[in-house]
Amino acid sequence: MNVAGADRNRRLITAGAGTALALVMGLALLAGFRLATQIRSSITALQTASELQTYPSVLTQQLTALRQRLETREYTGQAHEELAGTVARFNSDIRRLTKRSDGQSPQLQDAARMWQAYRPVLAPILAFSGEPYIDTDSGSSLSDGGKMYYGDVRQAQLLAKQNVGRLHRLLTAVTDSLEEQTSGAAARLRELLSGGVLAALVLAAAALYLQLTRARHERVAREAQEQTRDILKTVREGFFLLDADYRIGTVWSEALTHIFGRSDFAGLSFEKLLEDRVPPGTLATAVKYIKLLWGDRAHENLMKSINPLGQLEISMDNGRGGKETRYLQFDFHRVVGPKGGVKHVLCSVGDITSNVLLAKELQEAQENANAQVDMMVGMLHVDPLQLGSFLDTTETGLRLINAILKEPARTDAEFRKKLGGLFRELHSIKGEASALNLMSIAHRVHHLEDTVGELKKKAELSGNDFLPMVLKLDELLAHLRGVREMATRLTALKPGAGSTAEPAAAPSRPTGAHTVRRSGEDLSPILQALAEKLAKDHRKSFRLSLSGLADVPAAYLATVKDCVIQMLRNSAVHGIEPSEARRVQAKADVGAVRVDFRRSSEGYELMFEDDGAGISPQLLKDAAVRKNIITAAEAASMDTRTAMALVFRPGFSTQDEVTMDAGRGVGMDVVARTVYGLGGKIGVSTNPGRFTRFKIVLPPAGEARSGERADRMSGPQGLPPGMASGVA
């Protein structure tokens, strides 16, 4: 219902009816006043006429009485006076009647004319004065004057007697006419008064009706207002209208106050509402979108589909002096005015944070479930012995990390040294996990590395900064326990489980810092699997040839594995070129990576070689300058050999972007440190565009320094002394 329109109509009707009734009443009163005046005049005339009606006979009687007195010589003074009075009243009354504008009836005119005829006859009588008698001895007799007087009286009496009937009838007719006039006017007045009363009743009824209608409308409007207020108070979404200047109107739902933590919305521009809460780019897009809503270029559906604020991440005060991220959903609807065209835009905004977080949780749970399945599938392809070995080694590694975290440290340098140690250990674990395709572990470790990376960027470090690490470490340990449990179950399912002398079904938990390994453990499947994965991940094509790895003594197994994994990653990311690039250089499409382990005069020798792009000393120097490892001046004065040694520096990487396999700058320094820790040597030789070759020399197994993993966490920060490098 159009309340405003109905209200306007009601007011118009009220005013019209009121005016009409007032006019009617006014006219009725005016007419009534005139009629009343007329009636009053008629009544006066009627009284006059009634009196006049009696005069002819009175006059006749008085003339007769006067004549008799004259004849009997009685005193005539009083009779004369009475006659004179009657004539005077007759004159006066008939003049008054004839003066009335509405009293000119023919009878009155006839009566007036007849009265005129009386005048000359009566005039000498009225003019007589003196004594009409003469007293003599014989008695009184008429004097001369008296005789004339008597004669006049007798003549007048005769005239009066003659005309009394007619004059009386005429005057009676005048009276009747006046009576008729008066009663007619009275009847009209009655009608008028009845009409007036009726009009007054109608007016009163109309006023009552309008009052009732108005009260009803007011009640309806009040109820509507209350309902609107209740809706706006109760609804969970924030509602408001935007005007053509993109400003919020004067009415909004209470939820808006809770959503935005403010209440001064009236007149606030939409831009101001979101300012400082969303990134500038998002704000600009939002403002553009709002402007588009006022145009008619796009349909409602299209505008809805391109709404950039359907899920808006917004930064809000959390009431404790900090910020929190919330997600808001804005919807916009055009409000079209009566003449077409957008009058307002209705905005609804809801806090969908819990929905979004739930969706994220669901997605994470889904991803976790998928990862579990992937891992289970992956684990089915992993040799139980390798898996057990990995889990043992990783747990040992994590214990080492725990030990590092617990190491007392006060200075920033000590904290940074801790970070370096953590980084290298985590990187090593990640490499092994990737090699075994245990990506759920690799990803978790990658995230831990991210945390360490963030800490490294901090200007100042304190013990509290390491607390998040501890939590994540706990989570990783819990995950490892889950993996171990799953491995146990899987192994139990595998045919032949438990038939071997040393079942892998229950990989033993390490009892100390070291794990006793079986000699001759075959690293080939892990490395081949890793090579395959790296080739796929980095879209490279290369073949990995392994030889002599079955002869790796147990003491060096982990070291050789870690080193080869790291060098394999380097080859996949930096060394081997894409097939197209290789073709241009007249190389075989498929690259070659060769790993050879053998006994030597010094103990053992591990050779790792790829036929990739080689290492450019200049590129190394550029990258080192970019990473602030050396200064530009140092780079300029650095010889090739020293430049090549940069690959063994902690934090060095030629890659700027961090990925699962490269870019963190831990890798070759881990290899070098491990080798050095065992009392070995490492060297690199390269021919840019042709090959890169790492040669690691390890002492005989019995002479190796104890605690291989622990050792790689310690040692000087500079170049390991047993290192050689060069460019072929």
Binding site: K288, A298, I306
Partner: protein, 132 residues
């Protein structure tokens, strides 16, 4: 309905459509999939500059516009087309799914937005909406 006016001889005039996309396959797909008899494909262009040249020659009523193209991208091309002919109706067909790009295109003067990949039905619905 725009463009479906009759000329002096009373013959119904077709709506002229220009297809702009850097992918030949996509251009052919749009041309083949649209099912409107009153639409006449008057040209196809592989980039913004080519689109402007063909636009000058054929004066189309409607344009389907890719956004990511070499030489002159779709957003810039939309601005120029709208300057040349404000009444032209432009349907953006792009793989850029973010809302900000869509809003930007609409602000420059596009009238519709369709994400790649799309079905024939979605294409025809988007064109129908553009024609209404």
């Amino acid at each position: 309905m725009i463009g479906s006016q009759k000329n002096g001889s009373g013959v119904r005039r077709s709506l002229r459509l220009l297809i702009v996309d850097d992918s030949n396959i996509m251009r052919r797909r749009i041309e083949r999939s649209q099912q409107f008899e009153e639409l006449e494909v008057v040209g196809t262009a592989a980039n913004g500059i080519e689109a402007l040249e063909i636009f000058h020659k054929t004066d189309p009523d409607m344009v389907t516009m890719d956004l990511t193209m070499p030489q002159m991208d779709g957003i810039e091309c939309i601005s120029k087309l709208v300057q040349l002919k404000p009444a032209v109706r432009i349907l953006v067909i792009s793989a850029l799914a973010d809302k900000a790009t869509a809003v930007e295109a609409m602000e420059r003067g596009a009238n519709g937005f369709l994400n790649k990949p799309f079905t024939d039905r979605q294409l025809n619905e988007a064109i129908a909406e553009l024609m209404s």
